[in-house]
């Protein structure tokens, strides 16, 4: 197992290197640069823009720009955001906690909901309640998150007034107090639910179908014949088998947590990485854009690895060599 993980991690290095080339080339292929959207005759003049372009090295040949960037990147210097004029690592670390909170809350909500709904539906398939859950799930699957977000805001923020529609915190709170964290959770709940809607739906159906399938297997019949109680059959025998595929999703969810939810964060004006990513594309903030893309790629690779390893851990039948 260790050997396998080690080999995979080594294999990532050339992969990341190739990704960095692609990311850089694609970023530079985007037409325009960070100044082309900012022309304002009253505030800037052409000389200033030309000077800044020269200063930032936009006029150098591409390979030279690439090696300068990757060289610094490897050393841990991600550069300076052209938009915020502060270090990229600072920009990202400003938003990262918000995104982590949103991602984890969303995953926790997803798993809890999916677990209970899936378990219930799987045990009592084709009943009214199962069909209701199924109906809700297909609704969740079919409504795109931007629609769900807008509806959720309309219903729970504007009409009922239960949750705030924007931001991550009430500005009046003192950091570190209990109210402060409460306010953060209050702000994160709605976007987290909307973000988790799709995966809740698919996980529920996944779990349900797996339970149904397992309940028809021979070992269940054997257990029944032995006289094991239904409760024990479902909660121990079947659940253990059915939970396996769900656990492996965790690896992929890791990426989802960090990469944030571009659309959900934008709708809820929630300042996280997703929103940052979108803005950095719009304003051609190359350093932020490329660092984020590299970060996401890296996490995807790690997530895949984690998923593979988890397979091996939860299911001894699968061997990793």
């Amino acid at each position: 197992m260790l050997k396998y993980a080690f080999r995979r991690i080594l294999g990532m290095i050339p992969m990341l290197f190739l990704i960095s080339i692609v990311v850089f080339t694609l970023a530079k292929l985007m037409p325009g640069d960070s100044f082309s959207g900012e022309i304002d005759p009253t505030k800037t003049n052409p000389q200033y823009i030309a000077e800044m372009r020269e200063k930032l090295g936009y006029n150098d040949p591409l390979p030279q720009q690439y090696f300068r960037w990757i060289g610094k990147f490897v050393e841990g210097d991600f550069g300076k955001s052209t938009r915020y004029k502060i270090k990229v690592s600072e920009v990202i670390s400003e938003k990262l906690p918000n995104t982590l909170l949103l991602g984890f809350s969303s995953i926790i909500i997803t798993y809890i909901l999916a677990f209970f709904m899936g378990l219930y539906s799987g045990r009592k398939p084709y009943t009214v309640a199962d069909n209701l859950i199924g109906g809700l799930n297909y609704l969740g699957l079919s409504i795109p998150s931007f629609i769900a977000g807008v509806f959720a805001i309309f219903l729970f923020s504007f009409t009922l007034g239960w949750f705030p529609s924007n931001g991550s915190i009430d500005i009046g709170m003192t950091e570190g107090t209990f109210e402060y964290w409460l306010s953060r959770l209050h702000h994160v709940f709605l976007p987290a639910v909307v973000l988790g809607l799709l995966s809740t739906a698919s996980y529920t159906q996944f779990l349900r179908n797996d339970i149904i399938e397992n309940s028809r297997k021979d070992f269940v019949r054997t257990a029944r014949a032995k006289g094991t109680t239904e409760k024990k059959i479902y909660n121990v025998h079947i659940l253990r088998n059915s939970i396996i595929p769900l656990i492996t999703f965790l690896g992929f969810d890791l990426v989802a947590i960090i990469s944030g939810a571009i659309i959900t964060e934008t709708i809820f004006t929630y300042p996280g990485l997703g929103q940052l990513f979108l803005q950095s594309v719009g304003t051609r903030d190359y350093p932020v854009l490329m660092t984020l893309t590299m970060l996401f790629s890296f996490l995807t690779l790690i997530g895949n690895l984690l998923a593979d390893i988890l397979y091996g851990v939860v299911d001894p039948r699968i061997r990793l060599d």
Partner: protein, 573 residues
């Protein structure tokens, strides 16, 4: 199996309809609730100023966090800084500079003597000194300075030398004492003052910070020190700013206790306004009807300073100046015909939601240099005249396909381009223009180009952009040289005209106009007449600014220079 899936479908429909019903039902309820809440308060008007209360102000996108007039680069940051910092001079409703904290005298428009009020306090308790201003000017002129303001300092004598490291002081700045400073420009100009950077920086707050680190420093980002009516209490970067009343504000103690500035996605602002959780925000004209429909909010429009135009590519940029060497649109009659063909009245009404009007000159109507409409050719919608002009110019339909060919009998296609953003009205308004031209027989091909690269492609004279849509917003200084002189990079039509250059340079030449504003205006009027005769671009429309203000917020006034200072605002409790 089939039966079951039908059942599923029915269940789904049921759930869906229940969901929708819940939404609309809730919406109505909220409506009535709001009306009830508002009734008593709207009854009592004309009451006297009340102190206290918190104003919630929304920004439509996240600020960049450069919260200092010397560093900020976009309007969002400026909206925030405006609450807590102060310009030394102000502009009246004619956009003429007026004394504010500083007053000035000058004999020749080259040497200015400034005097600032005594006892003006910074938020950290320091008294404002002209040395703070000198400090700001030196920061902006520093070689390590990366903000966009050097433009507003470079005209000071010796600033360029200081920037290049040839001098250790800016020779044009002379501090007499804490309240008097003398600034000498490299030459006399009519608009030296309008273009000057008149924002001081607190020397103590920036003490020990190297110029290149300033923009990323706490003093700019999260703990700014200003002179304005409110002082920053807390900043959550990219999300919200909390400000408290600054009792020692030089313009009088503010009425409101607090101001909270939040970033709210524009799609939410109507709902927030309706709920009363938001008091003030600027908004995009496309939602003006929704804002107007709210009982508790007033949709304020006030004169703006921007205009839109359709430009023709007449030449190219050779690296330092414009050269008029493109033949396709050189014929003035063709350009006039394309102007007559556009029904601007109808077009503006359809796409500017009642907050725009047609404009007849490359200067917004509210600017004091704007020529009176009666002095200018009106170019009212007249397709017949357009056709006649095209016939005269030799653009005739020879091959009978319904579209005109050029005078040499070759196919003629207007390659028109417009910038594209998420705004869905842009494509339809561009399309509408192409239809006007096709109606008079000019085949038109429309290209929508991403806004980020639009001006870049214009600069590089892309093939699809022979005719292009553009817009400019102008500042307090009316001088259009940066946009329309033959040496201006942003003169995208690449229009070269000796008379135009002469008018523009005369209008800011002290030897010609001196300090006589009327004389200056006359030159600009003549220039506008020339522009409208030559038509290197067709001015199309100008737009008013739009702002939503909750009815509980009182004392807010608007004019062409913007809002009044927030210390005069108050909240009805």
């Amino acid at each position: 199996m089939k039966k079951r899936s039908m059942l599923m479908l029915a269940a789904l429909m049921l759930v869906l309809s229940a969901f929708l019903a819940a939404c609309s039902g809730g919406g109505e309820k909220a409506n009535t609730k709001d009306k009830e809440k508002d009734k008593p308060s709207s009854g009592e008007t004309a009451d006297k100023v009340q102190d206290g209360g918190t104003l919630v102000y929304a920004l439509d996108s996240a600020p960049e966090g450069k919260f200092n007039f010397s560093f900020l680069g976009n309007v969002t940051d400026e909206e925030v800084v405006d609450f807590f910092d102060e310009n030394l001079i102000k502009f009246d409703d004619k956009l003429k500079p007026q004394p504010h904290i500083a007053s000035w005298t000058t004999d020749d428009n080259k040497v200015y003597k400034f005097e600032i009020k005594k006892g003006v306090k910074w938020h950290n308790g320091d008294e404002l000194s002209v040395k703070d201003w000198e400090f700001a000017l030196k920061v902006v002129a520093d070689k390590d300075y990366e903000g966009p303001r050097f433009e507003n300092v470079v005209n000071i004598e010796g600033a360029q030398d200081y920037h290049d490291g040839k001098a250790t002081e800016i020779s044009g700045i002379k501090v007499d004492d804490d309240y008097h400073i003398q600034i000498t420009f490299d030459k006399a100009r009519v608009n030296n003052l309008e273009n000057l950077h008149t924002y001081p920086m607190n020397r103590n707050a920036f003490k020990g910070i190297a110029v290149k680190d300033m923009m990323a420093s706490e003093t700019v980002r999260t703990k700014p020190v200003g002179l304005g009516p409110f002082k920053v209490a807390k900043i959550v970067p990219g999300e919200s700013v909390e400000m408290e009343r600054f009792d020692e504000y030089f313009g009088g103690k503010p009425h409101m206790d607090k101001v909270v500035i939040k970033v709210i996605d524009p799609s939410l602002s109507v709902g927030e306004l309706k709920n009363g959780t938001l008091d003030m925000t600027s908004f995009h004209p496309s939602i003006i009807d929704q804002v107007k429909a709210l009982d508790n909010v007033e949709a304020v429009t006030y004169p703006g300073l921007s205009y839109y135009y359709v430009g023709f590519r007449l030449g190219t940029w050779d690296g330092s100046k414009n050269v008029m060497n493109e033949q396709k649109y050189q014929n003035v009659k063709l350009r006039e015909a394309m102007y007559y063909a556009i029904n601007r009245e109808e077009w503006v009404k359809a796409f500017f939601f009642g907050v725009g009007k047609p404009v007849n000159r490359p200067v917004p109507t509210n600017h004091w240099i704007a020529a009176d409409n009666k002095d200018l050719e009106q170019f009212e919608y007249n397709p017949e005249k357009a056709k006649q002009l095209l016939d005269e110019a030799g653009y005739k339909d020879i091959d009978g396909d319904g579209f005109r060919e050029d005078p040499n009998g070759k196919k003629f296609v207007v390659n028109f381009s417009h910038y594209a953003t998420q705004n869905p009205t842009f494509e339809s308004r561009a399309k509408a223009l192409t239809q006007y031209w096709e109606e008079v027989g000019l085949k038109t091909k429309l290209t929508m180009t991403d806004a980020n690269l639009y001006y870049d492609m214009l600069e590089k004279a892309d093939k699809s952009m022979e005719v292009f849509f553009g817009g400019w917003s102008t500042g307090a200084d009316p001088d259009p040289t940066a946009l329309w002189s033959s040496k201006a990079l942003w003169n995208y039509p690449r229009w070269v005209n000796a008379d135009s250059d002469k008018f523009l340079s005369d209008a800011i030449d002290m030897d010609v106009v001196g300090t006589d504003a009327d004389k200056r205006k006359q030159l600009y009027v003549d220039w506008q007449k020339l522009f409208m005769k030559e038509l290197p671009a067709l001015p199309i429309a100008e737009l008013e600014e739009t702002m939503a203000v909750s009815k509980r917020v009182q004392g807010v006034t608007f004019d062409v220079s913007g809002k009044n200072r927030p210390n005069e605002w108050w909240i009805k409790q």
